[in-house]
């Protein structure tokens, strides 16, 4: 079991959200560039190189660790943008760079040996040999685990590779968890979540209202039809409702959010180093409320789960695979 409290790693899509995260008690903040190197590459979101350097400075001044996500896969034959961003992070003094591509990890290790590297969830490393490989080849210091493991499996992995820290998601959006490998949105739009950084890019999302019925579409595909008063979910193919054998259903997963707050003691016992909040695309209000609640829960205070409920997709919460269930 951990002797030190687990680190709370919080999202920031804008400098304002970064301030809100630190104000709410984040131990570390992760953010990214406003370009394709970022798996949350949405219009108007993220940091210019100048804002990013200022964000790193702000974090350091206020006692939070700045982590920069460069978590998409570079183009074959041209990874100059990805390399440039690694160089900017090293120069600005980032606390860590979160990456997934082996070529980029090789570049970062060689060019900036002192730069701390974390393996992004986009790499989907979920077993000991895989984590050992990344450690040995690229000096990966921490791995962000994909949300496909039970707490027992996490404990076993942490014990098997004790010199690599583990970070687990505890709150926020869920998908089918084939991270780094999912092509559904890319198939529908021609824009890849893994290479362009946008799952269900806003430019391809449309909503249509017919009375109280709302239909969501992605490209030429109809994803969902929400009835009167029915809580809505994200317009991603994995949350879509499809007709299968004559029956309408959420074929891949129900729309709901991860809330693993009740499992924090189990994560501590499993040797987890850090807890991550998903949601760089979310607003300041989400960041402030969720971070405040989790910080209190880590400190052992009793928290009110309903305080975060309004921020959850379709109003639903799950502990996901961690406790052996799956929606």
């Amino acid at each position: 079991m951990n002797a030190v409290p687990m680190e709370l790693v919080c999202p920031a899509g804008t400098p304002a959200a970064l301030d809100a995260a630190i104000e709410a008690g984040a131990d570390a903040v992760y953010f990214g560039f406003r370009d394709r190197t970022n798996a949350r590459n949405f219009p108007g979101l993220n940091f210019s190189p100048k804002e990013l350097a200022e964000g790193i400075e702000t974090c350091k001044r206020r006692g939070a660790r700045p982590m920069i996500a460069i978590n998409t896969y570079p183009d074959a034959g041209d990874d100059s943008l990805w390399r440039r961003n690694v160089d900017i992070c090293a120069e600005a003094g980032a606390g860590a760079v979160i990456l997934c591509d082996m070529g980029l990890a090789g570049y970062a290790t060689k060019k900036h040996p002192d730069l701390r590297l974390h393996l992004s969830v986009q790499a989907s490393a979920s077993n000991a040999p895989s984590v050992r490989f990344y450690r040995d080849a690229f000096n990966i210091r921490r791995v962000v685990l994909p949300r496909v493991m039970t707490v027992e499996e996490i404990a076993a992995l942490t014990a098997a590779v004790p010199d690599v820290e583990t970070e687990v998601f505890v709150f926020g959006g869920l998908c089918v968890m084939a991270e780094g490998r999912c092509s559904m949105s890319g198939y529908a739009t021609g824009i890849s979540p893994n290479k362009d950084g946008a799952c269900s890019p806003a430019s391809h999302v449309r909503y249509e209202e017919q009375g109280e019925i709302m239909t969501s579409r992605l490209g030429s595909f109809t994803l969902n039809r929400f009835g009167a008063g029915e809580a809505a979910g994200y317009p991603t193919p994995c949350k879509g409702r499809y007709r299968v054998h004559g029956r309408e259903m959420h074929l891949f997963e129900d729309p709901c959010s991860l809330d693993a707050t009740p499992l924090l003691p189990a994560f501590a016992k499993a040797g987890v180093t850090a807890l991550k909040v998903e949601g760089r695309q979310r607003g300041k209000a989400y960041v402030a409320q969720v971070v405040k609640n989790l910080k209190a829960a880590i400190a052992g205070q009793v928290t009110d789960p309903s305080a975060s409920r309004a921020f959850m997709e379709a109003g639903g919460a799950t502990t996901g695979v961690y406790s052996g269930t799956w929606h």
Binding site: G13, T14, P15, A16, A17, A20, F42, P43, G44, L45, S48, P201, A202, S203, V205, R206, Y207, E208, E209, M214, F226, G229, E230, A231, A232, G233, Y234, Q281, R282, G283, K284, A285, Y286, A288, A310, F311, M312, E313, A314, G315, G316
Partner: protein, 216 residues
Amino acid sequence: MSQSVRTFSPGLLVGLLLRPVPLGVLRIAARPVMDGLIRDLGPRLGDRLSGLKGRLAIVPTGHPVAVAIDIDDGALDLDLIEADTREAMGAVAAVRAPLETLTAMLDLEGMDGDASFFARALHIEGDTSLVMALRYALEDAGAGVDDITGAVPWPFGAALPHAMRVGQRIHDAASRDLATVQDAILAPVRTELARQEARMARMESQMQRTQRRRAS
């Protein structure tokens, strides 16, 4: 699952009260505020709107007017227009929500855009990317109700903070009263709904029993 959203609100009543007022009068009244917002807010939006172009209409539910936001590669222009369909407003995107939801989204203690969307309190039509970009730009600029009140010219601006405090108290009281009214109006519907749900459950149960009997 379903989530209830209060639609019968003081903001809606304000919209209904504004209906008889000619658009021309509202535009003249709002022009100084719009100019103040463009002057103060425009530079704070940074380059989050750069490369984007088009008109976005913000339509408070039940109001006769919408705020038209014209974006042109980072530059901003604001106007009041008649609330209508997105096409009739000449907008590439439209956002419709109760006035309370729109103001709550500007508040750190309130709901973010995603949460309002999940609750079906926020409706988006047209180019979603323009809506998202503006939302992030406004949030990062720290735009809030204070910006709107700060843009109201003297002498009204000077009296506004006090008027807002009084207005907030009236709004809170009216919200409670209207919620009671809404609940009273909906009570028979809810009862009927519960009755129908119980009937459906009974029928499903009967069907399952019949299927089991046939299978055995």
